[in-house]
Symmetry: C2
Subunit: 242 residues, 2 copies
């Protein structure tokens, strides 16, 4: 259950730097953008497009046609206002329920959405099917060390300093109740075996695997140094060969 | 600094089930063996061969010639007694200092040795070079969530029950002082980015990535259930294409 459409949650989300300022304020972007293939003249599908920042980036890179899916009406309302473009279609649709027309996209992008998906392998299969031959899937998913975090939070000392990041129940995949922006949010923990092995078993070739690390510039932001203490996001590029 | 040759440490190691009973007593073996390609008529290099269990397995699978390297004399003495075979050569040599003759092996295996290596990428390059075209590298390395563990140990409650597995300083790779079998042991923590991205950047194709999970049989052993609470080993198969 994603709560992006709940009033309180959305207000908080709208105040995040990545919402207000777009990709330049997203800690992973300096790495993710290097994984995206050339998009000139290409068709792109964005799974969990949110405000549409990646959709408009694709168009700026010359993409011919972009479809952005999101299950939140409020998100899409923002996308249609801030990142409206004749080459972009925004569609209210769950990632699970989209039709995934066969061999239709050159590139599928999914940024920070797939940890809301319970059955990752079934989505991988659909992505593989909807990619054209030689198509590319670029994803950013919450890292298994992050989603297996106990309450997805640090253990703190008496003065409130993070002591360490506790993990537990790693091999028990599935639902995790977490707190994000002061609200209860349900996510799904997947092991690395599922995230990467799942791509391989669907026929993908893994061509990049890297963990997001804040840029030097970002590390100047208060508290950002803690992002070097445990991994939060896993970036993967997976290619369809034929 | 590996201390396998120190008397106390070696005595402890010799008492581990995997030392006494071989591969069948190693929790990861039921998965690792599936990653090893057919070895009939093949040449095999085992980096960190220990008692030689994997070398003798390779011969049983029909391997023509096997070289087992280890930096511990005591380990090799055991290998030469227990797993002596005319097709196996055991050689006292650090993984870093071996010559890695070009295009000489069909398969390179390394089980639980590469977390003692500081510069993983340089070893990957050597392995790539020493593999014949279409050769396969199969490795089992301690998982980054394990090597980034604080003192590589659980946090316990007052009655001694493991509460959770704490991780810290994940993106600070390098030396970790740990306790293994009651002795101080130096290991090297590598991120997933280095372990998997490093293989890709050396030209390997990743063909399997999975975390070791104890078999149902093993889970009956006292305390083994905790192995489901955090990942300990990462198994990878990487192929050289040309």
């Amino acid at each position: 259950m994603i709560r992006y459409d709940e009033e309180n949650f959305f207000e908080q989300y709208a105040n995040m730097p990545r919402s207000k300022y777009g990709l330049s304020a997203a800690g992973e972007w300096h790495q993710l953008k290097k994984l995206i293939p050339p998009l000139n003249g290409k068709t792109v599908l964005d799974l969990g497009c949110g405000y549409g920042w990646h959709c408009v980036y694709a168009v700026q890179q010359g993409a011919d046609k972009v479809l952005g899916l999101d299950c939140s009406e409020k998100m899409l309302a923002q996308a249609k206002t801030r990142n409206k473009n004749p080459r972009i279609e925004y569609k209210l649709c769950d990632i699970e329920y989209y039709e995934y027309p066969e061999k239709s996209y050159d590139c599928v992008i999914s940024n920070l959405a797939l940890h809301y998906i319970s059955d990752l392998r079934s989505i991988y299969k659909k992505i593989y099917a909807t990619l054209k031959p030689c198509g590319t899937f670029v994803m950013n998913i919450e890292h298994p060390s992050f989603t297996s975090g106990v309450n997805e939070d640090w253990v703190y000392n008496d003065s409130g300093r993070p002591l360490y990041w506790p993990i537990d129940d790693y091999f028990f995949e599935g639902q995790r109740l977490t707190n994000f922006l002061g609200c209860n949010v349900v996510k799904y923990h997947h092991t690395l075996t599922t995230i990467l092995g799942g791509l391989l078993s669907c026929g993908f070739e893994l061509t990049a695997v890297e963990e997001a690390v804040p840029s030097k510039e970002m590390l100047k932001i208060d508290g950002m140094i803690n992002e070097l203490r445990r991994p939060m996001m896993l970036l993967v590029r997976a290619d369809k060969q034929v």
